[in-house]
Assembly symmetry: none
Homo-oligomer: 198 residues x 4
DNA sequence: TATGAATGAGGTTTCATTCAT
DNA sequence: GATGAATGAAACCTCATTCAT
């Protein structure tokens, strides 16, 4: 029970920090602001996280471990057409990030920082994503479902860019989630059409 | 002559700052580091730029005004197939940014900041790019050269994302410029294939 | 208990700052000098006061609220001759300021600054003083105890000037408190004689 | 002729500086602001004045040497009643300062600074004034025109305070010069009544 | 576990003054 | 005489982190 209460506090810190990082950026957010929003003392933050960097890292770690797990599930289900699975994967990522605009913002902005804290985690997330895509495209190539000369790594990169740019647009313009998803689907289709073997 | 010397100093500040912003990020670069690298005093930085923010803004403003000008030239040349012009435009952007990896890095990272300094300039650059693409795609639609239902704004977004993700990969992995361009061309082709009317 | 300790520190900052402002003036006193004299770190000053301006304001605010309160008490005691109350009021002010020469100095010098910090507080203090005098002189007029045509506001101004110039002399020449009070009383008498109805 | 042109520049610097010191205070006025207002370069200021302090000192020196000279003239004219001469002297000072509100402001504010630059000049001006008054009152005492026990030095102090407080009021409230003079005359009369032998 | 006062290093910026032109 | 770019010391202030309670 004590464990539970403690976990609740951790989550409150994470959600407060995410909100503030989204609004003002990592560097323009102070620990005391986070403490204020989380309704606890600065000292308490350091009970749960060993540094400000650490807090940022943990925000990403949990979230993207889970997210990538879900993508993997989709990709390893064997029955579907690989390009449909690709489509579903992209939708899933955007769908999930669209439920927490603050997280989406932080993901888009902070994951590019040269910030030391993230020099470990950011490439890790990208790598995981690219590996999943690469495997999927390899599968598609083996089944002869995509054009020749398709570079699987490049598909990873491109789709990551697609996700990012469309989320970025949504985050800044603030339209409905539904519209966001329709946009993603359309753009994904342009792209998938470009690599599908007819 | 004094004017010329003065302009030389300005450029030295800009290149030093760009290098450091690329390496450590805007917030983790101090004015005194910039002064050191530019081989002048901190006070001198403030002779040429009225604040650190201002310095960052000017770095972007000059560079992207020129770059977008060049893209516009390509797009408004009338004789080519619009999708070829699109291809050429993407190549141009990546080509140019590939000559200055520091600038590329700064472009990729800092243009997403919620940093107040950039809240004006970043959207401006994106907007200019999107407008150029939108006009081009509209032209292509009028000439019936792309599939129905193509959303011009979405093409802007997607290609921006494409450029970013491929540059980002290059910046981090550091392969040759030639390889970078080949990647961009390939990815651009996937995408353009996806929207071209056959 | 923590509260008490905290209040002690505040007071130490205030007294150190007052001493230094008196000696070198507000602008020629740095926060780090204040910190040194108060035997704490610069950062600590900002725990108690949100800016250097704020520190100066608080020095005045507390002191003069109390002082004006005491003057008011004298003036609203009903039994005495109003001009005697005026005399007592002037004595009180000088008496009190003579117990803290640093405060007197700061009062004389800084309250005239065009310093933004004080643009709110300085007129407030003067106004409070003038209002008290005005009421008192109005009372005297109603009781027919002063000459006709006496301008109450002018009495406020003049006596304020009297207090200031005599304190200023004392602060610079540094004679005994007793002598200071005698001077004030004499000068006050000259003035009061000039307005009293015989 | 060159001499004349040079003197004109000096005067332009002085008037610009006075204006800015009046508005923002000595410490909140920068040399480059003064240069801007005087329509010349910073370097030129240093051709005419050896430092910022020096500039402030010279502003006072010229002005008050002249002013005190005029007061002296009045006081040494032998035919008038000394207390009338006192009255005329006070009027003269206020009259003159009322023609240049900026100078009045600077006089009121900066002459109290503990500013090193002024530690020489400020007491000098006060001393000169007090000496003139002391001589005058001594004359009056000899002629048996004032009450016994009048302290000449105290009259100097008090009237200086009177002048200051009334000018201060005018400077802040900004009424007409005529009204200012009437106020001064009234207040002077209260005071002179208080010391005159009936 | 929880607190928040205390720290001190480091940030950006200002500015009086100098000096080569 | 006139200029204004260059300087560098010093200013105010912030903030991640610690630690005694």
């Amino acid at each position: 029970m004590a464990r539970k209460k403690s976990e609740k506090k951790r989550q409150k810190i994470i959600s407060s920090a995410t909100k503030l990082f989204a609004k003002n950026g990592y560097f323009c957010t102070s620990m005391s602001e986070i403490a204020d929003m989380a309704e606890m003392s600065v000292g308490s933050l350091y009970v749960y996280f060993k540094s400000k960097d650490d807090l940022l890292i943990e925000i990403f770690r949990n979230y993207f471990d889970e997210l990538m797990g879900e993508v993997e599930e989709i990709f390893t289900e064997t029955e579907q057409h690989p390009l449909d699975k690709l489509f579903d994967g992209l939708s899933l990522v955007v769908n999930k990030l669209s439920t927490d605009k603050d997280m989406a913002k932080v993901f888009l902005v902070e994951l590019r920082q040269s910030n030391k804290a993230l020099q470990s985690i950011a490439p890790e997330i990208r790598k995981k994503y690219e590996d999943l895509i690469t495997n999927l495209i390899d599968e598609a190539k083996n089944k002869n479902l995509v054009r020749k000369n398709i570079d699987p790594e490049l598909i990873g990169l491109s789709t990551f860019g697609l996700i990012e740019s469309i989320l970025f647009d949504w985050v800044n313009k603030g339209y409905t989630k539904k519209k966001l998803l329709r946009k993603l689907e359309k753009a994904a289709n342009y792209f998938i059409q470009g690599i599908r073997k007819n």
